[in-house]
């Protein structure tokens, strides 16, 4: 199949239209601005399943009562289909599992605290939520700091192991 590359700005426009119209016409609320968020939806999914299985009462958003939050599995399936369809599926072995585990752990906890993954932070800022704008500024500053650390370590991303010096 022919390679098809979508420009990122097209993704931005399409995703923006989809999320806002999903909330407006498909009624994905009471929590406003909730049509797409990975941390919040994963939190709702896990908590709903736990509540059903063990009878606990972990907090979920109101929308999780009406629907099962299948955002994260859906995203995985969609990306898998796309990568298979265009021949981009390539298995890359693990290099630093523990560090990645801790990274995901931290992002999830912070995401629960501030109500949003980076996607939803941007979306909230677009909705006009001042906390979203605050979080966007925080994200910019954090990325700058992370970039400085990255430059210092001289690695592209975490998986690249520092080479042992010989001699």
């Amino acid at each position: 199949m022919k390679r098809m590359y979508i420009k990122p700005w097209i993704f931005g426009v399409c995703a923006g239209i989809m999320f806002v119209s999903a909330e407006a016409f498909l009624k994905f609320y009471p929590p406003a601005c909730y049509s797409f968020c990975l941390t919040c939806h994963v939190r709702d999914l896990v908590n709903t399943v736990t509540n059903v299985l063990f009878g606990t009462r972990f907090e979920t958003a109101y929308l999780a009562r009406k629907a099962l939050m299948l955002t994260s599995p859906g995203l995985l399936v969609g990306a898998f289909v796309a990568s298979r369809l265009f021949g981009e599926y390539r298995r890359i072995r693990k290099s630093r599992p523990l560090l990645y585990f801790l990274a995901g752990f931290t992002v999830m906890i912070l995401g629960i605290l501030i109500f949003g993954c980076p996607t939803r932070i941007v979306m909230r800022a677009g909705y006009g939520d001042l906390y979203g704008v605050t979080a966007l500024f925080g994200l910019f500053a954090g990325v700058y700091i992370g970039m400085l650390i990255m430059k210092r370590l001289k690695t592209a991303v975490l998986p690249v192991r520092p080479r042992r010096r010989i001699g």
Binding site: P30, S72, L110, Y131, A135, G138, G142
Partner: protein, 175 residues
């Protein structure tokens, strides 16, 4: 029905995200690092689209979900007698009072949630850069077959239990 719609929505988003290699954190990182604006343009266009559409829909009275606030977790589902919901409820009241009385900015900047948001997003950005992408990009990379992202997602799911079993009660004192 609604879960199916949500699933289809995220399916489409996953497809598009895989095709465009979109990542919200990598866009900012690339701009700071090598002044490459392609991915940042995706972020900005997303922001602008959402801003214009919400403005349009609010003015047309189509979007009835109201303004997003931080106290968006439904209060009924929280255990009612816990301190957490009580504080958050009280907190919301204070927010509205200041909004009506003294203008909006004062209400935002005087709440502790402002500092939580700022520092939390800062740390989240740092960690995301070191992990090589935002949460959405990690999902896409795992679907492409990268096993490091599998451990990222494992941590992602485990952290929910950690938060609610371990961190939830100690955090009540501060939050």
């Amino acid at each position: 029905m609604m879960s199916a719609l949500l699933f289809l929505l995220s399916l489409a988003v996953g497809f598009l995200a895989q095709r465009s290699r979109m990542c919200f954190v990598a866009g900012i990182r690339d701009y700071f690092l090598v002044r490459d604006t392609e991915l940042l343009l995706g972020l900005v266009s997303f922001l602008v689209t959402v801003f214009f559409l919400t403005s349009l829909f609010y003015s047309l009275n189509v979007l009835k979900s109201g303004f997003p606030q931080f106290g968006e977790i439904d209060i009924d589902t929280v255990i009612k007698r816990s301190n957490f919901s009580f504080y958050r409820l009280r907190y919301l009241d204070g927010f509205f009072e200041t909004t009506q009385g003294n203008g909006r900015f004062q209400g935002v900047f005087t709440t502790p949630f402002f500092y939580v948001t700022l520092s939390g997003a800062l740390l989240m950005g740092t960690v995301s850069v070191l992990a090589g992408g935002c949460a959405m990009r990690q999902h896409v990379m795992f679907a492409q077959g990268r096993m490091d992202s599998f451990y990222y997602l494992l941590g992602f799911y485990c952290a929910v239990y950690f938060y609610y079993l371990v961190l939830y009660k100690p955090l009540l004192r501060f939050y």
